[in-house]
Each structure stands twice: as C-alpha cells, then as structure tokens.
C-alpha cells in the first residue's frame, strides 16, 4: 500500500513537468489562434479584441497559472475553435481510443503468446524461423498500408467487415464491435510482432534454467513444464513491453483512427494542433500523460503480482 501511495505522489512532479512542457511547446509554435479563427482579412481591432477575450494578451506565465489553477479544479478550459469545454471533447473522443487500445492489445496477445511460446520451445526449427520472419515483416510493414490492404480484402472485396462507421458502444454494441474489429486486428497484428519477439527471447533464456530442468526431473511433460514453470518466469519483459505499448497506443493511434474514420483521441490532438486550439492540445496531452502514468503504475504493480521477489518499493522503480 505504501508503495502505491509513494508512486502516486511521485506522479505529481511528473505531471507538473508535463504541463509546463506542453504549455510552452504550443506557445512556441508559430501561428496564432486568433488569426486562425478570424482569418487573414480581419481588422486589427477585431484581432486585438479576440486576443483579449482569449486571454492571449496577458504574460505567458500568468496564462499558465490561470490555466493550471483551473485544471486543478477539474476545468480544462474552453476549446478556442469549437467553443465547448475541452473536458467534453476529450470525454467524447477517449472511449473509442481506449476501446481500440484494449482490442489491439487483446489481438496482439492472442497472436504473440502462442507463437512466442512455440518459437521458443521449438527454437531453430521451421516454426521458429517462420514466426520470426513473420514478426519481422509485421514490424516492417507500415501500418497504413496494412490497414488499406485489410480494407480492400475484408470490406471491399468480401464485405465481411465494415471499413468505417464507428458508433459508440453504448448506442449499438454490435455495430460498434463490428466497426472496431478490423482496426483492432490490423494494429494488433503489428503490435504482436514486438511482444512475440520479446516473449520468445525471454522464454528461450528461461527454458535453459536449472529449475526448468528440476520440473522435468519431476516427471512433468513439456506442456506443463513450459506453461507451469517457464512461462511465468519469462513474463516480466513482456509486461514491460506491454506497458510501453499500451501507453504508446493511447495517444498514437492517429493513423488507424484516420483510416477507419474513428473519432478518437489521437485524432483530436492532431486536429487541435492544426487548428492552433492550444487549450484543447494542453488538456488532451495532460490527460494522455495521466494515462501513461496510470499504465506504468499498473505495470509496476503487476511485476509484484508475477514475481514475489519484487516487493513494494524494492526493484519496482522501473
């Protein structure tokens, strides 16, 4: 319990740092939201008036603290371009991305765990070579290309799955799942490559350890030896990679979201950057940072669940 509290306290300086960095970055990019909203032909008076309304005429430090003060109270501000609370925008967009991330992760695990185990146990056989070759391909193929090919095959030629048409899960669960299946498969396939290679190399090391030989000397068959004794010992690097992967997916699914027309969180950030809607960008990046911190915390807790030697506060700083 102490460990969780300590980790949570540690996230505060991280989040403050993230807020300062995003706040300064967006103000360093050339371009001015007032200009974007009004267009090039606006009069200087109208321009100055809008700047004052948005608070852009105040010193940047004042702007930061005003914003931070509101954030602490749960107010992420109003979107400059859309004139709606940023929090609402994020809440609209986040569920789709979270769903996409979970689906991607599940697909990645379904592919990576069996192939990783097989490749490790049948090391240097055709199974291993095929798995490694496919994984290398999976990592090298650009995601957008794979997505387009999947759309051509599954949606255009065979009409098995829709290529777009996202609806929230709460409105129509079946349509939602149908629309999410293809994007999850495509990104899952790609992400599985890394997990599979991680699991393979970690397991190859573990199956040569003394305690696996002990398990065999007890009379266990290969399946029980690998699944019962070796696999769990090989999981730590896989959990680490999974954590990084999930954190990356939460903010980085822009391409998938764009190709499959999913109104996701990644697209919100990119669109807001183009519109110079810095209030939304700040809010979204802060939320994304919080998500990363939470995922990392869960990963650390999972370490201790997997390995009893990792006790709270010791060896779990990673």
């Amino acid at each position: 319990m102490m460990f969780v509290v300590k980790r949570l306290l540690l996230t505060i300086p991280i989040l403050i740092l993230v807020s300062i960095m995003t706040f300064s970055l967006i103000h360093m990019i050339p371009g001015d939201p007032a200009r974007v909203i009004l267009g090039q032909e606006a009069t200087p008076e109208a321009y100055e008036a809008l700047r004052a309304e948005l608070g852009l005429d105040k010193p940047i430090v004042t702007q930061y603290f005003t914003w931070l003060g509101n954030v602490v109270q749960g107010d992420l501000g109003m979107s400059i371009t859309d004139r709606v609370p940023v929090a609402d925008l994020i809440l609209q967009r986040l569920p789709a991305t979270i769903e996409l991330t979970i689906g991607t992760f599940i697909f990645a695990l379904i592919i990576a765990i069996p192939t990783g185990i097989l490749a490790a146990v049948r090391r240097n056989t055709w199974i291993d070579y095929t798995a490694s070759f496919t994984a290398l391909g999976g990592m090298s193929i650009p995601n957008f290309w794979l997505a387009l090919m999947a759309i051509i095959y599954f949606s255009v030629e065979n009409q098995w799955l829709p290529s777009s048409g996202y609806v929230p899960f709460s409105e129509d669960p079946k349509a939602n799942l149908m629309a999410m299946l293809l994007p999850c498969m495509v990104t899952g396939l790609r992400e599985s490559a890394m997990l599979m290679r991680m699991l393979r190399s970690s397991l190859v090391e573990v199956v040569h350890m003394d305690f696996v030989r002990t398990a065999k000397a007890k009379g266990l068959n290969e399946v029980r030896m690998v699944l019962g004794h070796a696999l769990r010992n090989a999981l730590i690097p896989v959990v680490t990679t999974s954590g990084l992967m999930i954190a990356g997916l939460l903010g980085g699914l822009v391409i998938t979201e764009s190709i499959f027309s999913i109104p996701g969180f990644g697209r919100l950030i990119v669109e807001s950057v183009f519109k110079r809607d810095y209030v939304t960008v700040q809010g979204a990046i802060l939320v994304s940072a919080v998500l990363v911190v939470v995922v990392n915390l869960l990963v650390d807790l999972l370490y201790a669940v997997i390995d009893p030697r990792i006790k709270a506060g010791k060896g779990a700083e990673g």
Partner: protein, 322 residues
C-alpha cells in the same frame, strides 16, 4: 541384494562444433537395492552427464547409446511418456545448485506437492499433507509455514532440504544426487549428508552420489566408481578405495587430500588437466598426466581389468589380472 540399475556400455555423445564428441564413453556399473554408489572424478569427467543420461535429461544435442536397465526396462528405449512416469516417481534427482534449482515464483510446498499430485493418485489436500510431511521429514522447522514460502525466503541449506524433500516425496527407488553439498558451506554440508543418510536408512532407497569430494565418499558410500575423461577407471568398495587405491589417478586424488597432523608445505597435485573430449589421446586417457606412464600406455587403451578387490583400467595391473 538385487540390482536395481544396471548401466552397460553407456556412450553419450554431443553434437558440437567439433563434430560428435563422446563425453561418456563406455561406462558400466550397477547399483544395488539400498546401496549408496559414489561416482567420483574431477570436473568434466562425465559424472553429471552420466546421471543426466539415466534421467533422460540431456540437452537437445546429446544422445545416449548402450543400455540403462532399470528393473526390466531399458531406459534408453522407453518412450518419453513412460520416462515421465519414471522421473520423479521411481528415480528422483537432487541437483547441485539449490539456489537456482527451485522455481523462484512458486511456493516451495507447491513445488514438492507437484510431483506427488502428478505421480500418486491423490487429492490436492493429500498432496499438500504429503508435502508438509516431507518438509518435516527433512528437518524443517515450522513446516506448515514454510509450505507457503518462496525459495528466496529460505537459506541455501534449507533450499537443499526442500530439494531432498521433493526428491523423496514419491518414495523413489533410486535417488541421484549430483554434488548435493558442493554449493553449501561446510557445517550445512554435514547436516545435509546426515539427512541423506537418515533418508536412506528409513526408506531403503538406493543413492547414486556424484561428488568430487572424497570426504563425502568415505562418509556416505558403500561402493565407488572413479571416472576419468568419460570412462570408469576404478571400481571398488569404499574401504579398498582408501586402503589400497590402484589406478594412478585414484592414487593422485588420494594424495591431493590435505591431512591433519602432517607437515606438508604444498599439497600433492596431479599435473595437467583432463583432455578435451574432442582431443582424446589414442592410448590411455590418463597417460599424459600419469607419473607411471609406460610405452604401451600411449599406444593402446587399457581395458577395465578385474583384480581381486576391484576393477581398474591400467596397464600396470595386466599381469596381476591374468
């Protein structure tokens, strides 16, 4: 006493970068019911590979030929499935490294109970009871608590006790102990040896004790085989081994033991090192290091000669045996 394990002309080869290399080359021995057979030799002489061959636990590039007769089966010819029924059940093994031989992520009790659950037709609760009983039998205090503890919470000596409990759990007919005390400090070594002696007396199981420590041999063993470079060079009962060792290698081993009360500035050593498995001499494998080497030694390999009290692989005794 009936013979429970009969190893005949065991040859274990490994495919390596140097081609096929025989690490164990024509080894014969028997283990009788209730006896402790010591297998002695320096590192790399093939002791451990012999034991792994019996258990069928060789690495993928290893292969055994010959015959390993256990009861009425040749272990080299039984299926993997049948071998799984023998391992841990009829033949159990204790490994050298208690620190790494236990799974760090499972409580030790579960690891003991696992073999029980696998081989004996018992319920989970009964397997747990058996594991606790075994922990008590190997002298663990607070056995019920230790059942739930993880290997990292135990000391090296306690972990080796767990290994012994695990090996004994299914009442095996033969326990193969590969240097069970080497990784432990001296006081713990004595405790573990006493424990193994007790186990043997209580259960009547046979033990194949692999060691390079002649002190352990004198304390524990009934008979001894001395191995050198993948071959048995001398086989005898333990008294004869210490009173009249015959093979120059055995004699060398005896002389390299420090003795209390004798003033020696340096210990006697055997010069040189064990030849590499892919560069074996054509004649006697010990010839390059032997102080009594003769011309014939470098040309022809000596057979394992039958002497009055022992067997010995050395040309020195050819006339005696004829």
């Amino acid at each position: 006493m009936s013979v429970i394990l009969d190893v005949r002309n065991l040859v274990t080869t490994f495919s390596t970068d140097y081609g096929k290399v025989a690490v164990v080359d024509g080894v014969d021995f028997v283990i009788k019911q209730g006896e402790t057979l010591g297998v002695v030799g320096e590192s790399g002489c093939g002791k451990s590979v012999t034991s792994l061959s019996i258990m069928g636990l060789l690495a993928q590039n290893g292969k055994s030929e010959g015959e390993i007769r256990f009861h009425d089966k040749n272990l080299l010819q039984v299926s993997e499935k049948e071998m799984q029924k023998i391992r841990g059940n009829e033949i159990a093994m204790i490994f050298q490294e208690p620190m790494t031989s236990l799974n760090p992520l499972h409580p030790v009790g579960k690891q003991i109970g696992e073999a029980v659950l696998l081989h004996l037709k018992v319920s989970k609760a009964e397997a747990k009871q058996r594991a606790i009983q075994m922990l008590k039998a190997v002298g663990m205090p607070r056995a019920e608590e230790i059942y739930n503890e993880y290997p990292h919470q135990l000391s090296g000596g306690m972990r080796q006790r767990v290994m012994i409990a695990m090996a004994m759990a299914c009442d095996p007919k033969l326990i193969i102990a590969d240097e069970p005390t080497t990784a432990l400090d001296v006081t713990i070594q004595a405790q573990i040896l006493d424990l193994m002696q007790d186990v043997k007396e209580q259960t009547g199981t046979s033990i194949m004790l692999i060691t390079h420590d002649l002190g352990v041999v004198s304390e524990m063993c009934d008979r001894v085989i001395v191995m050198y470079a993948g071959q048995v060079v001398e086989e005898t009962d333990v008294e004869t081994l210490f009173s009249e060792p015959k093979h120059p290698y055995t004699v060398g081993l005896m002389e390299s033991i420090p003795e209390l009360g004798t003033e020696k500035e340096y210990l006697d050593t055997i010069p040189g090192a064990v030849p590499l498995a892919h560069q074996m001499p054509t004649g006697c494998r010990f010839a390059p290091r032997c102080s009594k080497v003769m011309p014939i030694c470098e040309q022809k390999q000596p057979p394992l000669l039958e002497l009055s009290n022992q067997k010995c692989r050395c040309w020195l005794y050819q006339e005696v045996s004829e």
